[in-house]
Symmetry: C2
Subunit: 317 residues, 2 copies
């Protein structure tokens, strides 16, 4: 069940050379994705079960090609602090279910009105708006159900995870708050650096941070470790958003599986728009360094976590 | 904290005459509503907190005049089996939060497209579609958070309640499944009696049934009691829907706080449409009798629960 045979130590390759932290992390992502997708397949009702439209829409959105960043981060943090993948997997999937519901709802015509997501027509384009709304609603309920019914974890831990996930998803500090703020601040003239960071911290950062914290909670990490992970994941969330903004400018639709250049056309607040490309790239590197620095005081081997930060810094999709 | 000073015994009035079970229940509803609304006010972020639009929309929808049927049922069942209102209140509010999110999303233009709800413009009419979608999403997260963080209950009970609420809200057996089925079967020609009952069982019945079961779970009811409550609430949910359909035909907008006659215009499957008014009224009475009969084997005094069924049978709004 373990994702990596030894997630804490960068293993020598067959040839004897050491993998870089980013290569190690890339391989970890691959293995984590298989585990997460298999478990998601068990958690979600089959497409042959009524209501077929909703279950087809859920599976369409959930099983599109995806990085599985949040569940992989949860697994990586949890394994770093000694938890088994088996005990981490339901919580990891719950974060992916919440993330997927948010994509389905954010893509709706009344929200960001997007046609392309994870390389496919968006859920409402394929199944209609009503079904997309319902699919998102059902995904959210399923996320909390999956944690509540995870018998590998004791109930005290399950309620802590439900609380962590709910706070990161909702208002006033979570994802819904960030999306509302983002919609309200579509014009560049409204937004300065600190407001842009606040939007991202909530819209994407809160869930990323909570997924890392959830991994640490399952592993029974101590207070110092939990605080280090919280700071690391805070920076990682910011890094993820800056590189997302950069990709919106520089990538093609085939690279990123969604409509590129859309932020600029919508005159949305982004890092490249506020600072220009070069300064946004510099900001990404400095946030990457902050993320690695946050892990300095931790006794466990954090190679994998530093490698994940490096992967995000250098991502092309 | 107790809703009723003695919920189990119909108390003599000042004049010495006994209140009827329905009158007793009416008074119980009033007291329960005060308690639930006060607690909801604590659980929901204030309207002055960012994002103000979402919090205003949440409060607009949540604090419109409402019966608070689900939380009152939860309190009544829980008190019948010996739990204190204090231990029941967070769970009760969680059911009202889920119910309110479902109203907000169901009223959206892509779904039932309704302008009037609880006597007011619907959430999307007042705040726009994007904010209404987000308000519903946040209400759902808050429901699960409220249970997870309820320190009056031990964690094992909290996870059982999260599971119960999530299953009743989602797919394949819960509210989302019912709404999807209902949208798919808008034309009368599609729907017979058994399908109509299946739709209602999921769309409204699942959450009503789960709220009653949640009250029994908090009270630590035994298996026989839990089964009796499950059957009672199954019938109560059906009764609620039949009388809802009847009111759609016979009531005014001022009575019911939403647009009447809408089901007929949309040629939606309803009891009066399938059977005619008189037969639908007869069906309501027989379901009411089933609900009362389900409680027969229970040792606790179930006067209050039978009174609630009577209130639903005779409701005018």
């Amino acid at each position: 069940m373990r994702v990596s045979s030894d997630a804490r130590v960068p293993r020598p390759r067959a040839g004897g050379a050491h993998e870089s932290a980013a290569e190690e992390s890339r391989a970890y992502f691959e293995r984590a994705r298989s585990l997460v997708e298999a478990k998601l397949g068990e958690l979600v009702p089959p497409e042959t079960t009524e209501p077929i439209s909703v279950h087809a829409a859920i599976r369409w959105s959930l099983f599109a090609p995806a990085k599985r960043f949040r569940p992989t981060l949860l697994l990586a943090v949890g394994e770093t602090f000694g938890a088994s993948a088996e005990r981490l997997l339901c919580a990891a999937c719950a974060f992916e279910l919440i993330h997927t519901y948010s994509l389905v709802h954010d893509d709706l015509p009344a929200m960001d009105d997007d046609d392309l997501r994870r390389g496919r027509p968006t859920c409402h384009v394929k199944f209609g708006e009503a079904t997309a709304i319902l699919a998102g609603d059902a995904l959210q309920a399923l996320a909390f159900q999956s944690i509540a019914e995870d018998e590998t974890l004791d109930p005290g831990l399950r309620v802590a995870l439900v609380s962590e996930l709910a706070r990161a998803s909702g208002t006033p500090e979570g994802m819904v708050a960030g999306q509302a703020h983002d919609l309200a601040a579509e014009s560049l003239t409204d937004v300065g650096e600190s407001e842009l960071e606040l939007i991202h911290r909530r819209k994407t950062g809160a869930l990323i941070q909570a997924s890392a914290r959830a991994g640490a909670l399952v592993a029974g990490a101590c207070k110092v470790e939990l605080e280090a992970v919280t700071r690391y994941a805070f920076d990682l969330g910011l890094l993820f958003q800056i590189t997302d903004d950069l990709l919106d400018v520089t990538a093609t639709a085939a690279d990123i599986g969604k409509t590129p250049g859309k932020d600029a056309r919508a005159r949305k607040a982004t890092y490249p728009a506020l600072y220009g490309l070069d300064a946004a790239r510099e900001r990404a590197r400095s946030v990457y360094e902050d993320a690695c620095a946050a892990l300095k005081g931790v006794e466990a081997d954090t190679t994998l976590l530093r490698g994940i930060a490096e992967l995000i810094l250098e991502r092309r999709a």
